[in-house]
Amino acid sequence: MVLLGQFNYWVVFFLMMTGFYVVIARGNLVAKIVGLNIFQTSVFLLYISMGKVAGGTAPIVLADGALYSNPLPHVLILTAIVVGVATTALGLALVVRIKEAYGTIEEDEIHAKDDSL
């Protein structure tokens, strides 16, 4: 596992920036939420990559002297995944509500309607 160096982290940061780009460059609110989720998943990947130990195995009791990966990041990310789906659900509910109030989920059109009031 030493060969890999920091390849995992570089990919994680690339994915993070891809999600960030989708959030700030796309005008569609559903696309923005997909971007946020991509960002979030890349953070999960960052934590799990840090918890890996070379030659280790999943942290479930096997035998004396077995080498396990670090269970702590796994616990934190399990919590984060569930909280993540809760915030996504709330965001999507807001999108549905905005669609009903404004008739559109494009950021520019929402701003235009706000200005014309």
Partner: protein
């Protein structure tokens, strides 16, 4: 070693390695490349339906990487919740809001500049980080050993992730339940109450 009277299989993991470390690395790199391709496709494809389905694929590939990185609990949670529930929620939203996405009206220059600068700073930040899978990394030197050694005996669950989640960090999980409850109340407040009012108007 025996666990609750039953022998553990295999008897010694160091004596009989289950997986080759090289194969692990190859699978890890291949899945990460697939992940990058999927993410680029999400940026380039215009159809919202395709974007949402690609996000489901992205979550599933991430779950595969979690298995390679020994996080099996996280992997099936991500596959069920990330690839499953989140995709279904997004598709439900699309059914109500439509699949059409307006073409971009702004130049991508400014967001691209912001993203590249931020990415460069993050890349610079990795220089100080420990190598991947280094057993001597700071993250492995503090409480983790205590949980691994004493956890299964103190809590009585062979899965250390479950032991930490439900026992040592039980209050954390209770807080998580509070967050999910609040989000559920929020969704109901946004969608449920309004529907009833519309129903009253119709009747």
């Amino acid at each position: 070693m025996r666990w609750r009277g039953r022998p553990c299989i295999p008897a010694g993991i160091r004596a009989c390695p289950i997986r080759s470390a090289v194969i692990d690395q190859v699978i890890d790199v291949l899945l990460l490349i697939l992940l990058v391709i999927t993410a680029i496709a999400v940026v380039r494809i215009k159809s919202l339906f395709a974007v949402v389905m690609l996000f489901g694929i992205y979550s599933l590939i991430t779950a595969g990487i979690f298995v390679v990185l020994d996080a099996v609990d996280v992997a099936f949670t991500e596959a069920a919740v990330g690839a499953g529930i989140t995709t279904v929620l997004m598709l439900t939203t699309l059914a109500r809001t439509g699949h059409k996405q307006a073409p971009a009206r702004h130049s991508p220059a400014l967001p691209l500049t912001v993203v590249i600068i931020t990415g460069a700073v993050l890349f610079w930040g990795t220089q100080d980080m420990p190598r991947f899978a280094d057993p001597g990394a700071p993250i492995h030197l503090h409480v983790a050993d205590r949980y691994i050694e004493a956890g299964p005996e103190e809590v009585g669950v062979p899965n250390m992730v479950t032991a930490v989640l439900a026992s040592y960090r039980g209050f954390d999980t209770l807080g998580e339940v509070a967050v999910v409850f609040t989000a559920g109340v929020g969704v109901l407040a946004l969608l449920g109450v309004r529907r009833r009012r519309k129903g009253d108007g119709d009747g």
